[in-house]
């Protein structure tokens, strides 16, 4: 690297300071009477309307992963990285139908976390505990990913070392602690405005600079033709087609099980707000698709990812592309967009994990008679701990595996689908069978991921086995004795095992083993704001 880029760094820092101040001010925005209450700190008073919810959920789902790790995968492997587009196409119809029901039942019964719902629906504290722990564990690598995004930006500006990430994280932790969900909601406006400006400029200006999309895709084809890896290319190889579809479908199913996705839903003002947003959110999908193509633009522009200690960091390709194609002042704005775009979801994720901890672990097992003030304090501390865990993870992990971290998280998260999403429709599955299914699904997920080696592709196209285990999420079906080269997303395989166990054991247990009591009723699942049984916040507290 040719030293620190001063102009970029100054603009990046100024914008970063601006949102930090905004974060502290957010604590006073629509100020509640008592921030010491968990509903206020963790759900922003549950009063967000359409536009704010739109920005909140969008700011939440489109992360540093989206505009650093996905283009990096497209840069390195080609078409398979585009799975992020079908993934977001699939997720909204699913949410539209399924999560509207979760909004309703949660607002009838005052649920703040997915585990609250599981506890009431299945009458099983054990299952609720498993769901809570799953959410907290799966969230941590996802938060770590956001830090990897910031790290990539800092690397592109010539800043190395670990101090900048720690400082940025301290700011995030401080303002989240102070303002709760209000901080990321306000900052989401700034972040999304910045991102849209940067993306529009990038997808218009860069293709023109590079001579049009024909030249861009030609350059990509030539790169993949030279590469010895049979799995890359601007089209999917035959064996990768099932993987592509299962990655998209599995990621979509996992996404809306994450506690942070659900936080945005819980915080919405009405069921109608949730449904209307699902129709409007795909504007982000289009942005995502264009961002993914930045990976090819980086190839055409001749970007070489930063190599540190002999390891190629593909995450740096988009920041380097911006650095190469934009004037310094605009590259600074773009880097700020990516950096802030990583902080917002990190804040929301840590709050969601903290809510889970407090409601379903602390209050359930550690301090049954906790006052609202104690609850809020427990959540704030837990959000710091979760962020600290993610920070330690980033310092210990190899950034090259960033995209796989999210997919590992998905494998874990998917195991709560039967207890959470399916239970929104039917209570047929036995609570004990769901617990057994979760255990088996987790085991299958762990074993399959353990058996997948990591192959890395050097800048000169060489392939090396960098790791024997936990190297990716594409499980070869030949490992199951099938004579095929087809690969499948490990999460789908694990979920399949989970479901089979849950169904078989339900058939065996039904009528023989006592099931937990369901304290919800069918009409709760269609309730709308304003219905007599839907409690407004003052009645909840």
């Amino acid at each position: 690297m040719d030293g620190v880029k001063t102009t970029e760094l100054v603009i990046f820092t100024l914008l970063f300071l601006f949102v930090s101040v905004l974060g502290f001010v957010a604590g006073r925005w629509r100020r509640p009477k008592d921030m010491e209450h968990l509903d206020e700190w963790g759900l922003g008073g549950r009063s967000f309307g359409g536009w704010i919810t739109w920005f909140l959920i969008g700011g939440d789902l489109y992360t540093a992963y989206t505009f650093v790790a996905v283009p990096a995968l497209v840069f390195g492997a080609g078409a398979i990285g585009f799975f992020a587009v079908p993934y977001t196409i699939v997720v909204y119809p699913l949410v539209f139908v399924v999560l509207a029901r979760l909004w309703s039942v949660s607002h009838v019964h005052g649920f703040v976390t997915p585990a609250d719902f599981v506890r009431a629906r299945h009458g099983s504290p054990t299952l609720a505990l498993l769901v809570a722990i799953t959410g907290i564990v799966a969230t941590m690598p996802y938060i770590a990913l956001q830090l990897i995004g910031i790290e990539a930006v800092l690397k592109a500006m010539g800043v190395t070392g670990e101090l900048p990430i720690i400082v940025a994280f301290a700011i995030l932790a401080a303002y989240t602690y102070n303002s709760g969900l209000r901080a990321p909601a306000l900052i989401a406006f700034v972040k999304d405005t910045l991102i849209y400006i940067v993306v529009i400029v990038a997808v218009v200006a860069i293709p023109i600079q590079l001579g049009g999309f024909s030249d861009i895709f030609d350059a990509a084809s030539q790169k993949f033709a030279r590469s010895p890896n049979p799995g890359d290319g601007v089209l999917l190889g035959g064996p990768a087609q099932l993987q592509y579809a299962t990655l998209a479908f599995g990621s979509a199913l996992a996404l809306f099980l994450y506690p942070h996705s659900l936080t945005g839903i819980f915080a919405a003002r009405s069921r109608d707000t949730v449904r209307r947003n699902m129709a409007a959110l795909p504007a982000y999908s289009f942005v995502l698709g264009l961002l993914a193509l930045l990976g090819y633009m980086a190839i055409a522009a001749g970007v070489t990812p930063i190599t540190e200690d002999g390891k190629v960091d593909a995450n740096t390709v988009v920041p380097l592309l911006f650095d190469k194609q934009f004037p310094d002042w605009f590259a600074g704005i773009a880097f700020a967009a990516i950096g802030i775009g990583a902080l917002v979801p990190a804040a929301i994720m840590s709050i969601a994990a903290a809510n889970l901890w407090t409601r379903n672990v602390y209050k359930e097992y550690l301090n049954k008679d906790a006052t609202p003030k104690q609850e809020a304090r427990s959540s704030k501390l837990a959000s710091l701990v979760v962020k600290l865990g993610a920070l330690l993870a980033i310092l210990a992990l190899d950034p090259q595996f960033s995209i796989d971290l999210q997919l590992f998280g998905g494998v874990i998260m998917l195991q709560t689908l039967p207890a959470l999403a399916i239970a929104l429709y039917t209570r047929w599955l036995h609570a004990q069978a769901l617990i057994a299914g979760w255990v088996v699904g987790m085991a299958v997920g762990f074993v399959t991921l353990y058996r997948i080696p990591q192959r890395t592709f050097g800048a000169d196209g060489t392939i090396t086995i960098a790791r024997e285990h936990f190297g990716g999420s594409a499980f070869p079906l030949s490992d199951l004795g099938l004579s095929t080269t087809t690969t499948i997303y490990a999460g789908i395989l694990a979920l399949g095992a989970n479901l089979i166990v849950a169904v078989v054991l339900t058939l065996l247990m039904r009528g023989r083993v006592k099931d937990g009591e369901d304290s919800t009723s069918p009409s709760d699942y269609a309730a709308e704001s304003g219905d007599p049984q839907v409690k407004e916040l003052p009645e909840l507290v």
């Binding site: 009838v108 089209l235 999908s285």
Partner: protein, 85 residues
Amino acid sequence: MASRPVSEPQEPGTGPVHRGDPTHRDDRSAWHWLLLVPLVVVLIPQLYNKLQPTLFGIPFFYWYQLAVIAVGVGCTLVVYQKTRR
């Protein structure tokens, strides 16, 4: 499975339960099947895993999937309008 009665019973009035009674809501709708359209057309890569025809130099594989976003928005909007209360 045994379903429990409404947790907070409201006075339903003298007549039978009528449609739109908020305590006896139901969100089933045949319109929801329309949401399967974007899922099916985008989850079968065999349908679009090819280079031709290109659009503005973008291979079919890519612009097809970007176009399906619009299909997804359209289907979701239609279902939203038709199932709105």
